[in-house]
């Protein structure tokens, strides 16, 4: 069982999965135990879906911002992504620029990138990316949740003696 870092990030598909109502318990545990840092390009399809359904984007982005740290692309991030893109092309590898930006955002924020298709990001491991499959991540969360639950079990010796008012 791997130990997870404090910061995690998601690609767009994994981000949609983690926000599904059926994964609500995972999401609450995730928000309690980790700092979730996501690229704007990760939340773009989520927001696009909301816009398509006629939802108020200001409200949606505010809610996302309260739950997650959204990283908007800066000039530095874009230039770093282009540098890596050029190195990849020299190796004969063509990734979409969105994927590179999502990977570079995770690298620059020391976050584990969780993806439903981790092989897509493998070329970025050479540049410092730590990537994990979504199913493995869910397994890790389950294990951590079990450990946390065990910690909170009340042991007789840990119960304080009654205090007088």
């Amino acid at each position: 069982m791997k130990r997870l870092p404090e910061r995690v990030s998601f690609d767009p598909e994994a981000f949609v999965e983690i926000n599904r109502k059926r994964n609500r318990d995972f999401l609450e545990f995730l928000l309690a135990e980790f700092q979730v840092v996501v690229s704007f390009f990760t939340v773009h399809p989520y927001l696009l879906g909301k816009a398509y359904l006629g939802k108020d984007l200001e409200n949606e982005v505010r809610a996302l911002g309260e739950a997650y740290t959204i990283v908007y692309p800066t000039k530095e991030l874009l230039l770093r992504a282009i540098e890596i893109e050029a190195r990849l092309i020299k190796r004969g590898i063509f990734l979409s620029f969105d994927d590179i930006l999502i990977g570079v955002t995770a690298i620059e924020n020391n976050a584990l990138l969780v993806s439903s298709e981790p092989s897509r990001y493998k070329p970025l491991e050479k540049y410092g990316l730590n990537v994990m499959g979504l199913n493995s991540f869910f397994d890790e969360l389950r294990e951590l949740a079990r450990e946390e639950a065990a910690k909170w079990e009340v042991k007789p010796s840990a119960v304080p003696s009654p205090e007088r008012e």
């Binding site: 109502k21 897509r120 304080p160």
Partner: protein, 78 residues
């Protein structure tokens, strides 16, 4: 151990809570309140970003279509 000052109304409310929560100390009352607050906060955050299956499928389809349109992927040049 630290001491905190509370006004009379808060003191009465916290005494009632101690009984209702079956807490053994005021420290335990505060710990339970803090835990409850964290749970409520997390619940609100998770609720505000949770999506139903219909929304999720729409978003996944949008991702697929954007990829098709981009025509890019992890492809190696010949």
């Amino acid at each position: 151990m630290k001491t905190i000052a509370v006004d009379e109304d808060t003191w009465e409310a916290i005494k009632k809570l101690k009984v209702r929560l079956e807490a053994r100390s005021y420290d335990e009352v505060l710990k339970k309140l803090i835990q409850a607050w964290h749970r409520v906060e997390l619940d609100m955050k998770a609720e505000s970003v949770s999506i139903d299956d219909e929304e999720a499928e729409l978003m996944l389809n949008l991702i697929k279509n954007m990829k098709k349109r981009g025509g890019q992927g992890n492809e190696e040049t010949p």
